[in-house]
């Protein structure tokens, strides 16, 4: 199933940098260093974003503001030391004008000092801890923040009769972000919350879910990095938590579109709040999904892909706005306040925080035909990152 596709992608990933690199020498070139985890446990993130970036360039062309965008793809394997070194090499040796990608919070954080020192925009396309944009004035985010996605969940849960929640999150920045933002909001509304954190590399959810099962909460709020969501779901059902009436809620990572279909019926009924679903009902999204699936047969774009797609668009738009001036300060200035209709809905780059303002949707996982989808049934419009908004 995935074999041929993966092989092909492997070649293409290698070829991308080379071919673009050769073809673009003549015209004046603006280089974008795209650093993604292409191998290792978070490789799916990298592959989604890479596919989306290529899709954008194929659709809109590489020339913007009179300059030709050239993407140099590098694999950091999800290791922060490597990310940082690659970023530094891209800046020093390849003279890139923009750094982009960053699949995980530590990877984005490790690179922040480079962006600051080199005065180069750092476009975060995936990592979702709230504090990232504060690490450097040159960071702009086109993905989402976990508090942004988690706090609406607290509101929804409380107003739908849920009183006691148990949270299970992965023990690193984004997980802690999701847990604290949800718990604070939910407690403020009057609910009670119990929490447990799962180590990042954890082979077995059983002991953690057993605690949940004994606590018998109304709902289980979960955040795990996309990829291990399927395993979590299966054990949730295996432990009989669904039959015991425990609702599964959380930000949308656990029902990632990329792997949702493989989870099987265990995922049905999960309620999540997130900024993107492949079934988002808009013309822009239908066109995006269609083009993405045509270019990558058998792969459904997920929230990572849309982050990469919009990130690349942001770079192009900024370059247009500066008329091809690729200096860092100019580009950042142009990015602030940028706004357009994305496949996920209307988005704006908050001029004050350089973080993204977007709609958050409440979705239920359902079967449409033979496939599983997250169907949006409520919208919270234009949500800012609540952590920074409170400051």
């Amino acid at each position: 199933m995935t074999f041929r596709r993966t092989v092909l992608k492997g070649f293409m990933a290698g070829a991308l940098a080379v071919t673009l690199g050769c073809a673009a020498q003549a015209q004046e070139v603006v280089k974008v260093g795209l650093i993604l985890p292409m191998t290792g446990p978070f490789a799916s993130t990298g592959r989604q974003i890479e596919a989306a970036v290529k899709l954008f360039l194929a659709q809109s062309g590489a020339t913007h503001g009179g300059k030709r965008l050239e993407v140099i793809l590098k694999d950091d394997t999800g290791n922060a030391d490597a990310t940082r070194r690659i970023a530094q090499e891209l800046v020093v040796n390849d003279k890139v004008a923009v750094l982009a990608g960053f699949g995980l919070t530590p990877l984005a954080m490790a690179t922040a000092p480079i962006a600051t020192q080199a005065k180069i925009p750092q476009i975060v396309m995936a990592a979702a801890t709230a504090s990232i944009t504060e690490a450097s004035p040159f960071i702009v985010r086109t993905s989402f923040t976990l508090p942004q996605a988690s706090e609406p969940m607290a509101d929804w849960a409380w107003s739908n009769g849920i009183k006691r929640v148990f949270t299970v999150v992965t023990d690193y920045g984004p997980g802690i972000d999701a847990e604290t933002s949800f718990a604070n909001k939910f407690k403020a509304a009057g609910g009670t919350v119990e929490s447990v954190r799962v180590p990042l590399r954890n082979p077995d959810f059983a002991p953690f879910l057993q605690r949940v099962s004994e606590a018998k909460p109304d709902a289980l709020f979960v955040f795990v990095p996309s990829g291990i969501g399927a395993q979590f779901m299966k054990q949730f059902v295996e432990r009989g938590l669904d039959k015991a009436g425990v609702k599964l809620i959380g930000p949308g990572d656990v029902v990632d579109d990329d792997i949702l279909n493989g989870m099987g019926d265990v995922a049905i009924g999960a309620i999540t709040t997130h900024h993107y679903s492949a079934k988002h009902d808009s013309a822009a999204n239908q066109a995006f999904v269609k083009a993405f699936e045509a270019a990558n047969p058998g792969v459904r774009p997920n929230f990572m892909a849309v982050g990469g797609y919009d990130g690349m668009r942001l770079i192009a738009e900024a370059l247009k706005a500066t008329n091809g001036d690729a200096s860092g300060e100019k580009l950042i200035a142009a990015m602030k306040g940028a706004s357009w209709e994305s496949p996920r809905g209307p988005i704006t780059i908050d001029p004050a925080t350089r973080d993204i303002i977007q709609n958050i949707y409440v979705r239920r996982t359902e079967k449409v035909g033979s496939d599983l989808f997250n169907i949006e049934f409520a919208t919270i419009p234009q949500v800012k990152d609540p952590v920074k908004a409170r400051k």
Partner: protein, 333 residues
């Protein structure tokens, strides 16, 4: 007394063993020249220098005292976090951080040496591995201090001696790492040629005879283990300072495994093995990762397998041929 002629011979012979070979001078001249020759590759050169120091540290125990370890990353990590935390909370002076990282690692080495200095090679491999894994978990669970899985953020280093600022091109960083490597190498070279170093080689060759010659074996091993830990700590401190970031990865198993590979490539027991191995390893990794960014691990693995199956003799033959005639006790395999 048998007259001074023999004493003269003895003296000369002992001096000859520690005298600088022209190939050694050439090696360090090249290292210095790399600074001018590859002005765009400071980052990887810096990584090489740090890895070389780390490998030198392993060589001190493996090559000179015969202690195997699959958990040397424990000391790298200890040094890195110590230096990083010192810079973040106390003083940003690089040399203070270096000293602090070395001290904490040496202390850790001293404390864990009783665990490591017993049992067979296999038990040692397991215990060193276990110690590194435990430290990984400790660093992970002390998230309030270490940043946990997010890594230790927000380290900024002061300029070295208050004048040489760490620049984005890595020029200062490389020069700094290279100098530290060189100085620590000189010290190590002096030490392995001292009576202390001689007694270690004795322990490596034959523990029974060493003890029967009056060498307090456990104490010597503890001493060299702590010293080696300090060297690894220095490598860790350099890593933390020049990248201004520390992640849990410094404790990871692959660090120890890579290190073993580095030393095996270069050959243990003559100090240069780690340095040559580090250069070969990094360039190999860089070259492979450039033409196949996703699957370099496969090629490293293949290289390892072939290497152990018979490639080692080839490579070491080449190194020996290059150095013409190294002192006899040199590349003892």
């Amino acid at each position: 007394m048998s007259g001074t002629v023999l004493e003269q011979h003895v003296r000369q012979s002992l001096r000859r063993a520690r005298r600088w070979h022209p190939a050694e001078l050439a090696f360090w001249l090249l290292a210095a020249a790399s600074f001018a020759l590859f002005p765009t590759r400071f980052l990887i050169l810096n990584e090489i220098a740090i890895l070389a120091l780390f490998a030198l540290s392993l060589d001190l125990i493996l090559g000179y005292a015969g202690i195997v370890s699959l958990g040397h990353a424990a000391f790298l990590g200890m040094g890195a976090y110590s230096a990083g935390l010192l810079a973040k909370y106390v003083t940003a002076d690089p040399l203070a951080g270096l000293a602090f990282g070395m001290a904490t690692s040496a202390l850790l080495g001293l404390l864990t040496s009783p665990l490591v200095l017993r049992g067979t090679d296999l038990t040692r491999l397991m215990i060193t591995l276990g110690v590194a894994l435990i430290l990984y978990e400790v660093a992970n669970s002390l998230a309030w201090l270490t940043g946990g899985a997010d890594g230790l953020q927000g380290i900024t280093m002061a300029p070295i001696f208050g004048t040489f600022d760490f620049d984005i091109f890595g020029r200062t960083a490389y020069l700094y790492s290279l100098l530290v490597l060189f100085i620590l190498f000189l010290i190590a070279r002096r030490i392995v040629n001292s009576p202390f170093g001689l007694s270690l080689r004795g322990i490596r060759d034959n523990q029974l005879r060493a003890a029967a010659s009056g060498v307090p074996v456990p104490w010597r091993l503890a001493a060299i283990y702590a010293l080696s830990a300090a060297y690894a700590g220095a490598a860790g401190a350099l890593l933390a300072q020049t990248t201004q970031f520390v992640s849990l990865d410094v404790f990871d198993f692959h660090r120890s495994a890579d290190l073993m590979l580095v030393l095996i490539i270069g050959g243990a027991g003559y100090l240069y093995g780690g340095l040559i191995g580090a250069i070969a390893f990094k360039f190999l990794q860089d070259a492979i990762a450039t033409f196949t960014p996703q699957y370099w691990m496969f090629w490293i693995g293949l290289f390892l397998v072939l290497f152990v199956l018979g490639g080692r003799e080839l490579i070491h033959g080449a190194i020996k041929a290059l150095v013409a005639r190294f002192p006899e006790r040199g590349a003892s395999s």
